[in-house]
Amino acid sequence: MKSSLTGKLTFALVEPDTGLAHAVTMSPPGIVDELRRSGLRGRGGGGFEVAEKWRLCAAAEGPGRFIVCNAAEGEPGSFKDRAILQGFAQLVFEGMTIAAAAVGASRGILYLRREYGYMAAHMESVLAARRHAGLLGQCIPGRGDFDFDISIHLGDGAYVCGQETALLEYLEGRRGEPRNRPPWPTTRGLRGAPTVVHNVETFAWVSCVLARGAAWFKNLGTAGSPGLKLFSVSGDCQRPGVYEFQLGFSISELLETVGAERVKGVQIGGASGRMIPPSQFHRTIAMEDLPYGGAIIVFGEERDMLDVAGNYLRFFVRESCGQCVPCREGTRRLLDGVERLRQGRCPAVHLDRLCELGNTIRLTSKCGLGQSAPQAFLSIVSHYRRELMGRERHERG
């Protein structure tokens, strides 16, 4: 398999462990303050401020603390975390170690989705090398009292385990069903202990911020979304792959970079994201405008948007944990609606009802998976309604 990386990535330029070396000279609140100044937000899609998570975790009471790295990347169209782990595992583990130093954790866990099981051996060897170099395990240099080690847990094939509380349930040996929040993992996470959960990319950026300083990061991107971010770009374009962008770039810039022409729509944020039509390609990817996940899929003119909506909904129908009513039953009804549209049996009034239902799913589902499940469908209906309607009628078979 070929590498997915494109261009010069910051991760390739940062010398591993300079960030950690810097961090161990700082006080734990000092590390948190440095991150706060950088404005780094979680790179998994939620966009929660990293420093705030760490502060809450450090302030929470509990026996022990955990650092969990979420490599569940199951979002269709997302592969940047895979590329980061393959190319820059050092930075990820370094970031976890910095987080441990900041919140006072002694155990880290890398949750690696089963589909990435082929990387496990490589990950183990990186960890072993770090232990050998004294960067993990007992008494990390410069900080006599600081013990931290990382173990790898292999997933078992459930997308919803990428949701942080479902991931914790998994790690405790149960069905990976999301928990009710609050309490949040920063207060009561793995086995009841305060826990910081970030995805792979976030930890890698933590290392970079500590290596190059908060000001460097803060000056990139936009005011609301500082810094750089990796995107997996795939679909109907000439140069799919993993790209690094300063946040605040426009979709047209992106399409030019990846070599996409005659584009019907761009899905920003994977299955849980939304479809952007050509009329909005001037919009920018930043918290202020279009919130970002890591996946961007380009759909060319020959694609049928009804198929696209159906594919995304089938994904959620299958991957819903089945716990709460809106997500379990609602996504199924939306998919029924797509089938009815396809068979020319969906009156316009029913489509409106489905959109109302989509809104309820968004508002009432228990976790982020359910809340984002109708997004793709809703955005496709709002921008491509004409294309969806007026299909030839099929009698029921």
Binding site: M1, S4, D81, R82, R114, E115, Y116, D156, R318
Partner: protein, 169 residues
């Protein structure tokens, strides 16, 4: 004195559970290991695990039923998975799927009668830019085409280097 195959497996599993200090937090790790060794988690195995961890057998069954990589019936020695990621070319993928079914004589979701091959769909496996993607026992084959199916299956049977060792996943 061992009397049956089942007793032997029971003892092996008990030993495995003991190696995790009979901690029910390790349930999934235990199930993964059982799945790896025996290619499925049998009803008997689930009960042995439940007994050793002091949880209800239905709870173990519930966990097994939740995760795609655990199964209660034996899967083939070679588990062939085809990613249905939306970013891939649908036409090429459909051709690969048909050729796999044709060569093996089974449909997706089935296992060959000789217990050698299982054919499954899987969600996106993070190779969206290099589809279609086939994985055999966890080993990834990118930009896969229908004409490579024959060689892939021959490699499985001949122990070639296109596939990982059986039982690994």
């Amino acid at each position: 004195m061992l009397t049956t195959e089942r007793d032997r497996i029971g003892l092996e599993i008990e030993k495995l559970v003991r190696s995790y200090h009979n901690d029910c937090g390790a349930l999934i790790a235990i199930l993964q290991e059982v799945q790896r060794r025996y290619r499925h988690v049998s009803q008997y195995a689930m009960q042995v695990i439940a007994d050793a961890l002091d949880v209800h057998p239905a709870q173990v069954f519930s966990v097994v039923s939740y995760y795609r990589f655990l199964s209660t019936t034996p899967r083939g020695r070679f588990v062939i998975q085809l990613s249905d990621c939306i970013a891939h070319d649908a036409v090429e993928r459909a051709a690969v799927a048909r050729q796999l079914e044709n060569d093996l004589g089974i449909r997706f979701g089935e296992t060959t009668v000789d217990g050698l091959f299982s054919l499954e769909h899987t969600g996106c496996i993070g190779m969206c830019d290099q589809g279609p993607v086939v994985s055999v026992n966890g080993r990834i084959h990118t930009q896969f085409t229908a004409d490579r199916v024959g060689a892939l299956l021959r490699d499985c049977l001949g122990g070639g280097d296109m596939v990982a060792a059986p039982g690994r996943d």
